[in-house]
């Protein structure tokens, strides 16, 4: 793996950091006729992935971001409490936080980055709050 550099653009008290890595190929078998993991992906996320050039990437990225968010928060979340829309090619994902998850993270801000490297997706989530 080559190195990836990310300079965080947000300021504020660091509340948590989460990183997750997954192989895109593992999600190829999940590329659905329906929702492969209804406890993890919303129907809207699955529909989004289905129209991407690389649907496995979109599912993989959504999974990674949710895992990284779980790690950043340091406790269980409802993965359906946020929706992640990603596409291959280096664009940043769009992350929508639903009311239940927003209630848990309060006013904290999320910074989400995706890296693609050697068939893997790496998601990093930084959670920041007031202060500093």
């Amino acid at each position: 793996m080559t190195s990836s550099t990310w300079n965080s653009e947000t300021r504020g008290l660091l509340l948590g950091v989460g990183i997750d890595v997954e192989l895109v190929a593992r999600f190829a078998s999940l590329v659905p006729s329906g929702n492969p993991l209804p406890m993890v992906f919303t129907e809207v996320e699955v529909a989004h992935s289905a129209v991407q050039g690389d649907p496995a990437f979109a599912l993989c990225a959504a999974f990674c971001v949710k895992e990284a968010l779980f790690k950043a928060l340091g406790g269980p979340i409802d993965p359906l409490g946020c929706q992640v829309f990603a596409c291959a090619g280096g664009q940043e994902p769009r992350v929508e936080i639903g009311p239940s998850l927003r209630a848990e993270i309060g006013e904290a801000t999320l910074e989400v980055r995706l890296f693609e490297e050697g068939g893997e997706v790496i998601a990093a989530v930084i959670l920041r709050g007031e202060g500093a």
Partner: protein, 126 residues
Amino acid sequence: MTGVRRQWLGGSDGHVEANGVKFGMQDIDQAAAQQIRDLVYDFFAAECDVDRASLNDSTRIIEELEGDSLMFLSLLEKIRKRHGIGIELKTLARHLMKKPANTIGQVIELSLAIVRHGDDVVNVEL
């Protein structure tokens, strides 16, 4: 849903309500428990590309099989579909933080508890 007898105690939605909390429960007979056991063994053998005969209840999923959360969620989805159970991942994660399932035997035990208790698994002592 062969071998699984729904033993709901009341309520048109199949739940009992007590003190404002809904509970649901499935009674599992021996054959159904064995089906779940077989499902778990077959799943790990196929996913990890190992001979089923090389697995036992003490096999450590992360250390020996390189298992991970995606693998566990895929297994859970198979069980969920087969037994028609509804469980929130957050509830299950909370349970796993208290009582991790590190071995195949522990995953079987957890799977049986999920089928029996659904979301109420968080209150079950395994």
